[in-house]
């Protein structure tokens, strides 16, 4: 009898608690609540961490090291929640430069996004580079991003356009040892649009609340820039990529496929 009583109590407890947690998910009122999300970018090369002045092998017996620059522009970050609603990071603060020089000792580059609507997010989308809509508005909406881009060498000086990615270093192939490597890909005016978007499903739901600041750990495999959707060779001219109408779209697509979400922290 006594045992039964305990069981009942336990059962009741279980029901109540499960009910209340169900309630949480369906009726928790999140309207007006804002939180933040930190994106943690982590550049690697294949299964190695990225470091400057370190030689990495690629296909075709070619190798490279980056000596000064590893940077790319991320923009139009937005999230989709479990009900399919999209939330875009507010305009005016939705263009960023991921710069290896800004990395902490663990090689991580943090991008803190504030004023994010509280929700349970299951998907992230972001652009690589600057889209044509924004670009064709000229200075409008750029704030000081132009200044930042110029300071970080991400704006061409001979044409008015952003470099979406900037890799500077040296490469070695069958005929060249330590030749100059420069991949500076961007859109070319309005005639060549190399802006690309990436959508990644989050391995577990990201819970944004006023008192919760989750972290999304995004890995970028730099090797994929050369050995991605298409494998390209330095020997064929990919040691210098600037505005070429055939080379740059290949690099853009390769970059589109270099990101993965490694894990999510809900604190």
């Amino acid at each position: 009898m006594k045992q039964l009583k305990y069981t009942l109590v336990l059962l009741l407890c279980a029901i109540i608690s499960s009910c209340s947690s169900d309630n949480d998910a369906t009726t928790e009122n999140l309207t007006g609540q804002k939180g933040s999300i930190a994106l943690k970018f982590d550049n690697g090369v294949g299964d190695q961490n990225f470091a400057f002045n370190t030689t990495y092998q690629k296909s075709n017996n070619e190798s490279f090291q980056l000596t000064t620059d590893l940077k790319y522009i991320i923009s139009n970050v937005r999230f989709k929640d479990q009900n399919g609603n999209e939330f875009a990071v507010p305009e005016g603060n939705n263009m960023f430069i991921i710069d290896q020089d800004d990395a902490n000792n663990a090689g991580e580059i943090f991008l803190n996004l504030d004023n994010i609507n509280a929700a349970n997010y299951t998907e992230i989308t972001f652009g690589i580079g600057v889209d044509q809509d924004k670009y064709t508005q000229g200075a409008t909406g750029q704030g000081n991003f132009l200044t930042l881009a110029q300071d970080k060498g991400m704006f061409w000086s001979w044409a008015s356009g952003y470099k979406f990615v900037r890799l500077d270093g040296i490469y070695t192939d069958a005929t060249t040892t330590n030749g100059a490597l420069a991949v500076h890909m961007g859109s070319v005016g309005t005639s060549l649009d190399n802006y690309k978007e990436v959508t990644l499903t989050l391995p577990n739901t990201v819970l944004v609340r006023t008192n919760k600041s989750p972290e999304i750990h995004i890995k970028a495999d730099i090797l994929k820039i050369f050995d991605g959707e298409t494998s390209v060779n330095f020997a064929d001219g990919y040691n210098q990529v600037h505005t070429d109408a055939t080379e740059t779209p290949i690099i853009a697509v390769n970059m589109q496929n270099m990101f993965t979400v490694h894990h999510v922290h809900n604190d």
Partner: protein
Amino acid sequence: MKYLKLKSIVFGLLIFNSCAKSDQFEANYEPIPLQVEKPSNFPDIEYTIENNPVTDAGFELGKKLFYEGKLSANNAIACAFCHEQAFAFTHHGHTLSHGVNDGIGFRNAQPMQNLAYQREFMWDGASTHLDLQPIIPISSELEMGETLSNIVAKLAAMPQYQKDFKRAFNGQGVTSENMLKALSQFMVMMVSANSKYDKFVRNEDNVVLTQIEQDGLNSFTTNCASCHATDLFTDQTYRNTGLPVNPQLNDKGRYNLGQNPADLYKFKVPSLRNVEKSYPYMHDGRFTTLEAVLDFYDSNIQGNSGTVDNALLRADGSYGINLTTYQKESIIAFLKTLTDYEFLEDERFAEF
């Protein structure tokens, strides 16, 4: 004691009063909208004015910046250094423009006029937005050799500029966005549409062309207007006119943008407005007179390793446009009717 108190009250009032006055002045400032001129013989405006509506304060700030040496590394080279009003805002006396440290650029400065009506800028179209064009001369080591962040810092350190920016941009401070918008507000207002020719085509002030000018217009329409089209006198495309390549510069023109072989040695068709004043001619300023330009079209197109434009192909397979001496003379007489003295002397655009 009582006296002292009174005195301090009066003093206090005075301070209060003067503060209130200057604040009031700023707070009460209502920007006066300015209209970009839309002449009836022009095509549509390309610049998105809604994104950057022109006001008197924005225009005045833009003009100040245009004449401001602080936009360059040595604080001496303003935009106006290479773009002088009397010569349709070109670099008078220079085939190739030079800038900071006497660096010589690669190209002849283009006139600045009717920029609101242009889709792309520079001889090769390297700039697709007027707001962003100034970044090129600013950052070029051969021109102004400066960075946006240094300029923003230099201007922000000057109280007058802080005030000017606040007035022009609704209380906002010195940013690169606002600096570029102010420059654009100045530039889009630079409309040249009051030449003799304009008044003639718009039937204004009973202006008529002389016989030789009218003959020139007719020859021009037949021989030149396929490229120098509309009343902007450019179809805004890029063409290879078969100019022999200057080996010292080997300027490949639009090819530089996307390395497309079809773009080799193509340059933007320039507007011919104020062409009498904007000498020397062509992207590298190789011709000093209009006579030399017309002789080139008539008999000196030698070609280059790119593909010369079909419009310049004669029936016999050679390149050129056959022009008699009278046709050349009359075309030049016509081109001189495109000189717009009202624009070249317009005090709104002048430094002083």
